[in-house]
């Protein structure tokens, strides 16, 4: 019914000859290398585009030691933190989405749709307003809200084990509505405390420094390691609960580890750049359309293409609204919502 369950649907194809399998692996490796190259180019573009354009050649020169002049060096340097943030947050959100889709066997998994980002935002806002914590990038502050959101969404959406994709999304919408109302109420009631966070509330990588990057990086690394360790169990789970158990996977453990990993990733990226939606939905679905649902390839592709999407969104946001900038979360919604429409049409007949 969905892309998540394609391994079963494609079972006959998996019995193809070794030669074909090897050729497919080559094609995927080549694709991954291409994606990495594209990501590298996007990083350079992100360093070059902005209110002051720097030619790509000068960016390269500035990065590797001999900038044409100090001014160029400064401009490029000032764009490094946001570029690095976009990269790690993109990887975190895309992998979190793919793993959420895998462990819930639900094509609509996305940290934004399922309310995790708004839960994280709620506790961040609370700590800024009431405890004076300067919380940009403080993942410890974001974690309780993210965990609370996951628990609530799962409790409402899964009920007695009859969770359907739409039900989880609806539970996510409830959690998002309540938490965002709270975030709005707090940020409007303490205008001074939130002057610096006006864009953070919508999701933006602009105006963040290296400190934000370094403080969220360890959490994202841990989260990515947890998630990437699950490729085998996720493939087994895609065949169905019973088959997974028969293959030796332990669905309960997989869900627990996956839940911990995705919550870490979502909390860390929200703490860093605010609640950005749809990256976790769009990237895994695009990757599946390109290379199929095998998690051994799906997750690495997400690690590369997630950053590519967020970087593209950030660069487009800088260009499209000159002389202002459009927040990255706005652009990802433009890209991600159409993907949602495509996925909706493929939901099961019951929906």
């Amino acid at each position: 019914m969905t892309a998540v369950s394609t391994p079963r649907a494609k079972a006959p194809h998996d019995e193809v000859s070794v030669a074909v399998q090897r050729r497919r692996a080559w094609a995927r490796s080549a694709g991954l290398v291409t994606a990495v190259v594209v990501l590298g180019l996007l990083v350079l573009v992100s360093l070059s585009v902005g209110s002051k354009e720097i030619p790509l050649g000068d960016v390269w020169a500035a990065l590797f030691g001999n900038p044409p002049d100090d001014y160029t060096a400064t401009v490029v340097e000032s764009r490094i933190p946001r570029t690095l943030l976009a990269v790690v947050v993109g990887a975190a959100l895309a992998v979190a989405g793919a793993v959420m889709q895998g462990i819930t066997r639900n094509p609509l998994g996305d940290p934004g749709l399922l309310g995790v980002n708004s839960g994280a935002a709620a506790t961040v806002v609370t700590s800024i307003a009431f405890f004076g914590v300067s919380a940009a990038g403080n993942v410890w502050v974001a974690l309780p809200g993210a965990v609370a959101a996951v628990v609530i969404v799962y409790a409402i959406g899964h009920g007695r084990g009859h969770g359907s994709p739409a039900r989880l999304v609806l539970a996510g919408a409830v959690v998002t509505a309540v938490f965002s109302a709270y975030v709005q109420a707090i940020s409007l009631s303490f205008p001074d405390a939130f002057a610096a966070y006006r864009f953070w509330v919508i999701g933006s990588v602009a105006g963040r420094g290296f400190d934000t990057f370094w403080s969220i990086l360890p959490f994202i690394v841990v989260g990515l390691v947890l998630c990437l360790s699950l490729v085998g169990p996720l493939n087994a789970l895609a065949l169905g609960e019973d088959s997974a158990v028969a293959l030796g996977a332990r669905p309960g453990v997989t869900r627990l580890v996956g839940g911990a990993g995705t919550t870490l990733l979502a909390a860390a990226s929200t703490a860093g750049v605010g609640p950005i939606g749809f990256v976790g939905l769009a990237v895994p679905h695009i990757v599946r359309a390109l290379i199929g649902g095998d998690h051994r390839w799906l997750l690495p592709f997400c690690v590369v293409l997630g950053p590519a999407l967020v970087l593209t969104a950030d660069v487009v946001g800088r260009v499209i609204a000159r002389p202002d900038e459009l927040m990255v979360g706005v652009i990802t919604a433009f890209i991600g919502a159409p993907v949602l429409f495509v996925v909706v049409r493929r939901l099961g007949a019951r929906a």
Binding site: I156, A177, A185, V330, F334, G336, F341
Partner: protein
């Protein structure tokens, strides 16, 4: 879930409210007659009383309130400077707009929940209010004074509904897809609003972002006129179509069989609901969840499976006036937009509905 609801509506409708109070027939000469039951009428009267009390509280409480003994005189036109200002400029229009917008949201929510046969199929859940606000923001910032704001809201709402209708693949008949598609359309509309805002002048953008949360601040009598003209015209139309709508709820085959052309009826009644929501949104922004909650509360109060349109509208008025009273009198340094309060409370109510519904269906 739909099947259960449709069955309940069918049972209630077919048997004329069967086991509860018996239906009575009201006749006025030979040209007007309709069937009604006592309980919804009593509930409606009580709702009006509650709304009047809330309205009086809105006008009298707080630092700017008109003293209660002076209120009757003030309302009858015997007003001096301060009371005249408060009644005519500050709180009067605000209260009247709240009454009308709440009614409009309640009626629109009731219509959508019935037509989609989906207890969650209200304009705010399926992306209509977000689309309307995108349309309103676009015309007011990009083409100010060329296209009237309510028309822009209407265009945005219709566009959002077309996208939702098309993207489910089965129109409004797919309850769960409808809601997911609505969430997508809402996100898309909000992103579009942000884009338009970034193109606007700073001071315009500030005004609009207050409106975007759903706010009743700074309303005047022309706003009230827009809301109330729409409420009166479209509620009357909806009531005129009510018998046919009930037949459509019983199923397209039955409706077509007795001559209530189902597709035409559905299109008309949906257009009425869109127009009502768009009118309310164009004046006070996308005030969240009144349209979702009002019909449910009305249904629980009247114990009428179909929740009469008028009862839903009255409940909407009472809810919005109550929320606005809370916002005005809350001891906060800065007055919050009323939409934030309704979003928080309505979100909790939606969660409650989901849990209850899923307990029942397992």
């Amino acid at each position: 879930m739909t099947r259960v609801d449709a069955a309940a509506i069918a049972a209630g409708g077919a048997a004329g409210g069967a086991s509860r109070t018996p239906a009575r027939t009201f006749r006025l000469g030979s040209w007007l007659s309709f069937r009604y039951r006592l309980r919804p009428v009593v509930v409606s009267v009580l709702l009006v009383v509650v709304t009047v009390i809330l309205g009086v509280a809105t006008l009298t409480l707080g630092r700017l309130g008109i003293a209660l003994p002076d209120l009757p005189g003030a309302l009858l036109g015997d007003v001096s400077g301060k009371e005249k200002f408060i009644l005519g400029v500050i709180r009067g229009p605000r209260l009247v707009v709240a009454l009308g917008a709440g009614f409009a949201f309640g009626v629109a929510g009731s219509i959508f929940q019935r037509v989609t046969r989906n207890p969650l199929g209200s304009p705010d859940v399926i992306g209509l209010t977000a689309g309307a606000s995108a349309g309103a923001v676009s015309v007011s910032l990009l083409w100010p004074n060329i296209i009237p704001v309510p028309v822009g809201a209407l265009i945005g709402a219709v566009a959002a509904m077309i996208v939702v209708y098309a993207s489910t693949g089965r129109g409004f008949a797919a309850p769960q897809r409808l809601i997911v598609a609505g969430i997508g359309v809402s996100a898309l509309s909000l992103a579009f609003v942000q884009f338009v805002l970034s193109r606007a002048q700073q001071e315009q953008a500030t005004v609009v972002s207050g409106w975007l949360n759903g706010s009743l601040e700074a309303k005047d009598w022309s706003d009230a006129a827009v809301v109330w003209v729409s409420v009166i015209v479209f509620t009357v139309l909806a009531l005129a179509l009510a018998p046919r709508t009930l037949l459509v709820e019983l199923g397209d085959d039955i409706a077509d069989g007795v001559g209530a052309r189902s597709s035409a009826t559905r299109v008309f009644i949906v257009l009425i609901a869109i127009a009502l929501s768009a009118a309310a949104v164009s004046v006070c922004g996308p005030i969240a969840f009144i349209a979702l909650t009002a019909p449910h509360i009305a249904r629980a109060l009247t114990r009428d499976s179909g929740a009469g349109l008028v009862a839903a509208g009255l409940t909407g008025s009472a809810l919005l006036v109550a929320a606005d009273l809370l916002v005005q009198q809350a001891p906060l340094p800065q007055q919050l937009p009323v939409g934030i309060v309704t979003a928080g409370m309505g979100g909790l109510f939606l969660g409650f509905l989901l849990i209850r519904q899923w307990r029942r269906t397992g």
